[in-house]
Symmetry: C2
Subunit: 293 residues, 2 copies
């Protein structure tokens, strides 16, 4: 069995060609990181975590460092990770003082009897499991602060954004990961689709793995990632399944994008948003990246 | 079009025949309350909210008053409500000082741009929308406290529990509602399946409406309610869809139950747990209640 990975850096109306290209490049760097793990015999779970973590650390993306700010001007992040062999998963919602929410999600998967921890309870779980506190202020970039000021002044529209990765490893195991600062200007305590199994992500070795991005509330209402997964379980390719599923968002007036890998190692993506930055390395080792539909 | 409703009071190993019978009676009272709303021309959304609210106020059930306690000995509740015409939904997770979490979920549906609010952010939304603070201590029953003490002493096993209702109204609209105190002894900040669209509940006029109960983490990992909904969308009856979907829980070693109404007004339930208290009033007005499989 050959291995493959695809990552995205969020869907929406990107600011400029330069920025869009930079985001696609950031996605490619993350895909290469995950691919190296797969090439070394590592698991899909480790690969998607590493790719997601790299995107969290890249201030270009709305996840980890560079997260957008909520209505209070605070960072609150969501993330989740899932593996497709036994459907184990971990997620965190509305967490603040953590450098890499995807690492915390992995800890929930490994060490908690629960699947989803939120708010102060999730932070306490982090401390109890040796995750160092990371001051929120270190997560806030100049750009995020400027965007928040302009949104407050109604000069620009708030926007969503997420990063995500899906992969299949040499053993045929799939995994998915998502991480986000959420929709800018969101209410405190808002949890979006990203940490919710079936909505922001899904992984099942019998189908494939999926990660979604875009209007979180719309994605939740149609349970978008499960729709893609079910189509792949029925035999559709990742490409066909993502193309068909993205139309579900039209029903609820949402915009977004979705990436997937099917159980045969095929990669696919689809979007009904103007753009989605992404990058992939397929089973033959071929690299691709871009941002236009 | 005729109307119908089915409610459940949680799945699991109930303590005694007396208690099981009392729970079934409580479910029947809640079903009658929802049915009266439907009979008066009210919406499925109002009916499931009223039924759920009645079960929250009944200290027999693990929701609202009578909620079980988490590892810290605190009440933290989850609830959600969804309507199937335009897929609008509202949910709250890990909330403490609210008498009726399902009412707060309805407010999220009506007044928030978001679908899911958790923790202190959800409480703030409650206060901003005129919901009176309700001291947690008023939610804690003697029985919940005694159960918590015995669990701490390892004399009994922690158990999950949820209440839920689904209905179809005279206009053919469906809705679903769930509410819970969660799994007893859970970590602070744990959010279960109950407030998550596709997991604890789902409603879609093209399919029907679903509410699940049982091991929340297992339900989340298989996105149980969406599985039932998809089967009904493909033409299966509520009865057939629930019976088929409950087997998904076996894959992840979970126990639970599920209730559903299909778009033709047919009612169904299924469980792989030892018991699930429930009651229904079908399209011909016939009442039923019980707790054995």
């Amino acid at each position: 069995m050959s291995f493959a990975i695809i990552v995205h850096g969020g869907a929406g109306q990107l600011a400029s060609e330069d920025r869009a290209a930079a985001c696609a490049n950031g996605c490619l760097a993350a895909a290469r990181l995950g691919h190296a793990i797969l090439a070394g015999g590592g698991s899909a779970l480790d690969a998607v975590q590493a790719a997601c973590s790299a995107l969290e650390d890249d201030p270009l993306f709305n996840a980890g460092t560079g997260s957008c700010l909520n209505a209070d001007g605070e960072v609150e992040m969501d993330a989740a990770i899932m593996e497709g062999t036994s459907l184990r998963a971990g997620g965190v919602g509305a967490v603040r003082s953590v450098k890499n929410p995807i690492f915390l999600a992995r800890l929930v998967l490994e060490r908690s009897p629960h699947v989803l921890l939120v708010g102060s309870g999730a932070e306490r779980f982090a401390r109890e499991n040796g995750v160092d506190p990371h001051p929120s202020s270190l997560l806030v970039t100049e750009r995020a602060l400027e965007r928040w000021r302009m949104e407050r002044a109604k000069l620009i529209e708030p926007k969503p954004g997420t990063v995500g990765a899906v992969a299949i490893d040499g053993a045929g195991r799939v995994a998915a990961a998502t991480s986000t600062g959420g929709t800018s200007g969101k209410a405190a305590g808002r949890v979006g689709d990203s940490p919710l199994l079936g909505s922001g992500l899904y992984a099942d070795d019998r189908a494939g793995a999926v990660s979604a991005t875009g209007d979180g509330e719309a994605i939740m209402r149609v349970v978008l990632s499960k729709v893609v997964s079910d189509r792949m379980a029925a035999g559709e390719s990742a490409s066909a399944a993502t193309a068909a599923a993205i139309r579900e968002l039209d029903r609820v007036g949402g915009q977004g994008g979705v990436i997937a890998v099917d159980r045969r190692g095929g990669l696919g993506f689809a979007l009904n948003a103007p753009r989605m930055s992404r990058a992939s390395i397929d089973a033959s080792g071929r690299e691709a990246s871009g941002y236009d539909p």
